[in-house]
Amino acid sequence: MIARSASLLMMGLAMAAAPAAAQDVAAVIAIPPLTTPDDKATGTDSPAAVAWQASQLIASDLRTTAELVPVGPDQKDYYSYPEVTAPTFSRWRAKGAKFVLTGFVRSRPDGRLTVGCYVYDAVKGREVGRTGFVVAPEDWRRAAHKCSGIAYTAATGAPGIFDTRIAYVAESGPPSARVKRIAVMDGDGNNQSFLTPGDTIVLTPRLSPKAENLAYVSYLGGHANVRIINLASNEQRPLVPDSAMSFAPRFAPDGRRIVFSMQAGTNTDIYVADSSGGQAQRLTVAPGIDTDPSFAPDGTQIAFESDRSGTQQIYSMAADGTAQRRISFGGGWYAAPVWSPDGEWIAFARRVPGAGSRIGVMKPDGSGEKLLTDGALDEGPSWAASGHELIFQRSGADGRPALYRVTLAGGDARKVVTPQDASDPDWSGALD
């Protein structure tokens, strides 16, 4: 069911140039091709072929960031195996590079490949990061994403966003009869897979931090209900008994607990439950709609949305439901708060009644608000593992949704290419 599509269709992220505003501070990183000591073998799975493809993937990964400008790979820049750990810094400095990434691919007797990557500060002439993996030849992409990740971390101090998964709702069919399926893809758009058959409406897939489990909302039982899928076994079950409407699930940073909303009469409140089962604990009791809860990365606080004041606003509370307080006061309506992985920001959709909604961020105390997008109907923000970027849903005038990325630094949002219309994106943390 979760069979990973083997066909490498060109479904990568749109490779638009980095936003102009951010380019002023972007650092150049040289990506000469990874080398190999086994240059006799040939074929698509040979170390030499994988080394060349991995080099291209690393460059294309880093090109999607606002902080790094990759140069290469160029076949003229091949270097010998011993030079992997002794690059000629002056050569890269002369080309304007602040960083240089070297590496190798070597075959092992058991048929697998060893992939090693090193990142150097070319100006200071010292190593700033390294990583190594043993992978099956067909898993070379994950090793390359890990190499991209250490380069990104070395340059920015933030976790890499390349070895990650993105869950979303794939949509097809006419507006009056949309077919919706839960879909998961790699962070770069590869390995698309569909987890539900499209026979019932599904919404808001949310990955656990390491993408081991996925919570989503299904109308399988006739009304909205949170279900959990184990992505390894594909087994699934309801989070809570199927009696009340439950929705808006999101995992806690520990990957075990889930916060969500449950409706009773005209009232909707926030609950927390263990993802493996057990009694749900009620966290809010105020009359009105309390929904879209999101844990802070340290697990001590929860941001959520409530209309208890009359309009949708963002609130925060302690993880046990105490100390509830409103934090959005900018005028207008605020929805769908999501705490950033570094704890610095809360992203949201700001609604202007009758005039659509935009994605923005504010500090957890409500200060420093800034709007990042200018679409007519942007919603559903989800953070990249780096905390520097968001993925969100933008609906066009025809009502058809697509996924977009936007950086905290600003600049235009960039479309994420998906095989079908796409909504409700959720970006995992960096995988192990």
């Binding site: 808001t204 409407m245 409706q263 909707t268 769908a336 009644p353 659509g356 007519a376 559903g380």
Partner: protein, 165 residues
């Protein structure tokens, strides 16, 4: 025709035993039957739905932005719906709440639920047995009218009284 009405009445009383909510029916006498309409002898559920819409004026009521408050026109429609539903306690009804596409995903679900609940509560207030009624929210998943115009949005903020069987 007289025989058909008798048959319907019998079905109604047989079904009423299954609905404890019926005992809470107010003792107001049922509204007089309208003049016999040229309907088929045996009404399938589709025929019942057509009759319900014709006699209630509409199976839908509409709401203001972000609101689940019943307007005067909505209350008038629901009063007519309640009159018909009280005469048909054998019909199972599902009230479906919807939000407009400018709402955010999860808030739309909650608002749709709130609208359906308000309609259900009002119908019960007017004497429709609670056991006859269920609710569901479709959030913004079933868009009735496409477009971002205020008119299109308003036509999506609705609760629909659906005769199930």
């Amino acid at each position: 025709m007289r025989r058909a009405l008798l048959l319907l009445a019998l079905v109604g009383s047989a079904a009423s035993a299954q609905f404890p909510g019926l005992s809470r029916r107010p003792s107001v006498p049922p509204a007089p039957m309208p003049a016999p309409a040229p309907v088929p002898m045996l009404l399938g559920i589709d025929g019942m739905r057509a009759e319900f819409v014709a006699q209630s004026g509409s199976d839908k009521v509409y709401f203001g932005g972000d609101s689940a408050v019943l307007t005067a026109p909505a209350k008038a429609t629901l009063a007519a719906q309640a009159q018909w539903l009280r005469r048909h306690p054998e019909i199972i009804v599902r009230i479906e709440g919807h939000a407009d596409p400018s709402d955010t995903r999860d808030h739309a679900l909650a608002v749709g639920a709130r609208r359906a609940e308000e309609v259900r509560d009002y119908l019960v207030l007017l004497g429709v047995p609670a056991a006859q009624l269920s609710t569901v929210s479709w959030g913004k998943e079933n868009v009735a009218v496409m477009g971002a115009s205020q008119d299109a949005l308003a036509l999506n903020r609705r609760a629909v009284t659906v005769l199930v069987r």
